[in-house]
Symmetry: C2
C-alpha cells in the first residue's frame, strides 16, 4: 500500500449528529469532530454541513487524504452514491451525495448505508477480517444489517438488501415500525426491548432490576438490565436469554437461505456479552439445517466507539 | 449458437425414479425415459443406473449432445459436482458424480441441487427469462428453493444456500422435519398441509370437501382442496388463502434481506392458482419494507411437466 492510501476521511451521517474523522488504513482515528446534522433544514443544508466538517478536518491537519467514505441511513444506489429518502431526513428523495462531495474535494467518495459501512468496517479492521462471508448486525435503536459475501457487500437489486432487522420470526408477533409483525427489530430494537421489559418487570417484584432503576420504570435500559443480570437476577438473565433466542431464530433462517454462518454483532445491546452470545449460538445450532451446524460462529464486533466513522472510512480502504 | 449447443441431456435424479431426456436449447424434450433409482443399493448402483439411462438415450438417437446436466437432492459443492449426503440415499457421503459421468461420456457435466436446477430451468426457458434476479420456490413434498442473483444461482459458502423452505415464520410453530419450528415447509409441504387440513376439516361439517373425499379423511389432497375451493367452499378457500399468507410472510422477510422481489412458484400446490398467488401478493405487499413494495412480482413457473429434466438440461445451456 502506497502512502497515498494511508489516510481516509470517514463521515458518519446520523439523524442528529454528523461525526467525521481522519482514519488510518489500520483503523486508527487521528482526529475527529462532531457537528449538528440539521436534517430538518433539508438536504442542501445537510450537505453544506458535511462539507464544512470535511473542510475543518482537512484544514487542521496535513495528512494526505486518499478518499472520503460516508455512511448514512436509508437506501443507497449501489455504486452510485445516491441516497434515497433516508428516514427522519425531510425533503430528500434522491440526492447524489457522492457526486457533490467528490466535485467539491476532487477526491474519490464512497457512500453506503450505515449498516453496510459497519460491515465493511468489521471486514477491513475488525472481527470480519478472516472471513470471506459474514452477516453484521448492529443492535441499537433499530436493528441494522449488512451482508458480506465473498468480501463484498451484497446490495441486492436496488441497494435495499441486508435489512436483517426486518426478518419476521412470528407472523403474529408485535407490530414493527416498518408495518410488518414480529420483525426482530420489534424484539431487539432498543425502545421495543425497554417497553417489553417494563411490562414484564411489573410482574417481577423480586427482581434486582427494581433497585437499579430506583423503582422508576422509565429508567429501564439495556445497561441496568445487564447490571441486574450480573448480580445474578433471574429475570434480567431470562430477558437476555430470550433476546438471544429471538435473534438466533432469525439467524437460523438466514443461514438456511444464504449458507452464511458467521454473525458479527455490534451496537449497544451487544454489550450483554457472553450470556447473549451463548443464547444466540445455542438457538442457531438447534434450528439451522444439519450441514451448516458445525460452521456457525457468533462473534462480537471489534469496532466499538466511533464504529460509524471507522466503517465509513473503510469504504475507501475497501476500494483501494 | 452453434449446432453443437443445440441438444443436452437432462437427468432428474429422484429418490425413487431417475428421469432422463434429450432437450433442445429452447426447452423442448425430444425423447425421454424413466428408470428406477434403486437408491437403497448405494451410490455405485445409482450411478450405474444413471449411466445406463444416458447410454440408452444416446444409443437410440442421433442428436449431437453438447453436455449433460444432473439435478439431484442434497447439497452439491458449487462448481465441482460433488453430491453430499442426499436425503434418502443411504451410503453416500461425498460422491463426485460430475467427474464419473464426464469421464464415461467424454462431455461436460454439470450437477446442481434439484431446486437450483429448477430455478435455472425457469431462467433459461421459463418465467425467469426476463429477470436478472428472482427466487424460485417449488411446492411439493418439501418446499425447495433456488435463488438467482444477476442471472446466476446463489450457492452460498458451501452450496447449501436457497433453503427457502426452512425460513421459520413462527418460532413456536409446528415442528419441521429439519428439527426447527415453524419453517414454511412445515406449513406448505404436501404432508404437513394434508395433515393440517384433515384436523381442521373435522370441525367443518358443512364443507364441500367432505363429498369430494367420500368422507374419507385419508383422501384429503391438494387436488380436492382445490376442487372444493372451485365449488365455492369457504373452508377450502380459507385453506388456500392461509397458505398464501404463510408463504407471503416468509417471502416478505426474504425481500427485506435480499432485495430480490420476484418470486416464481412451481410444484403441485402451485396449481391452487390465482387465489393462492393473490394471497401471497397481498401478504408480501403488506409486510415488505416500503421501497421494495412496488417491485414485488409473484409468478407461476412456466415449466410444469418434466420441469426436472428441463431444469437439469438448462444447467448445460446456462454454461454455454
Amino acid at each position: 500500500m502506497t502512502s497515498k492510501n494511508k489516510y481516509a476521511i470517514g463521515v458518519d451521517l446520523g439523524g442528529t449528529t454528523i461525526k467525521l474523522g481522519i482514519v488510518t488504513s489500520t483503523g486508527r482515528i487521528l482526529k475527529k469532530i462532531s457537528i449538528r446534522t440539521e436534517a430538518e433544514k433539508g438536504p442542501k443544508k445537510v450537505i453544506d454541513n458535511i462539507i464544512a466538517g470535511i473542510d475543518e478536518l482537512i484544514a487542521s491537519s496535513s495528512y494526505k487524504i486518499s478518499g472520503i467514505g460516508i455512511g448514512c441511513p436509508g437506501v443507497v444506489t449501489p455504486g452510485k452514491g445516491i441516497v434515497e429518502d433516508p428516514p427522519n431526513f425531510p425533503g430528500w428523495k434522491k440526492v447524489n451525495i457522492a457526486k457533490v462531495i467528490s466535485q467539491k474535494f476532487k477526491t474519490r467518495v464512497y457512500v453506503d448505508n450505515d449498516a453496510n459501512a459497519a460491515a465493511i468496517g468489521e471486514l477491513t479492521f475488525g472481527s470480519g477480517k478472516k472471513y470471506r462471508s459474514f452477516i453484521m448486525i448492529t443492535l441499537g435503536t433499530g436493528v441494522g444489517g449488512g451482508i458480506v459475501i465473498d468480501k463484498k457487500i451484497y446490495h441486492g437489486d436496488f441497494g435495499a438488501a441486508g435489512e436483517i432487522g426486518h426478518i419476521s420470526i412470528d407472523f403474529n408477533g408485535p407490530k414493527c415500525n416498518c408495518g410488518s409483525y414480529g420483525c426482530i427489530e420489534a424484539y431487539a430494537g432498543n425502545q421495543y426491548l425497554r417497553s417489553r421489559v417494563r411490562k414484564q418487570l411489573k410482574k417481577q417484584s423480586e427482581s434486582k432490576l427494581w433497585k437499579l432503576i430506583n423503582n422508576d420504570l422509565s429508567k429501564v435500559s439495556p445497561r441496568n438490565i445487564q447490571g441486574a443480570a450480573e448480580l445474578g437476577d433471574a429475570f434480567a438473565k431470562s430477558v437476555i436469554d430470550q433476546l438471544g433466542f429471538q435473534l438466533g431464530s432469525a439467524f437460523a433462517s438466514l443461514c438456511n437461505v444464504l449458507d452464511v454462518s458467521v454473525f458479527i454483532i455490534g451496537g449497544g445491546i451487544a454489550g450483554f456479552g457472553k450470556p447473549l452470545f451463548d443464547s444466540i449460538r445455542k438457538t442457531i445450532s438447534r434450528r439451522v439445517m444439519a450441514p451448516i451446524r458445525p460452521r456457525v460462529r457468533v462473534l462480537p464486533a471489534k469496532l466499538k466507539n466511533d464504529a460509524g466513522i471507522k466503517g465509513a472510512s473503510a469504504l475507501v480502504f475497501h476500494h483501494k
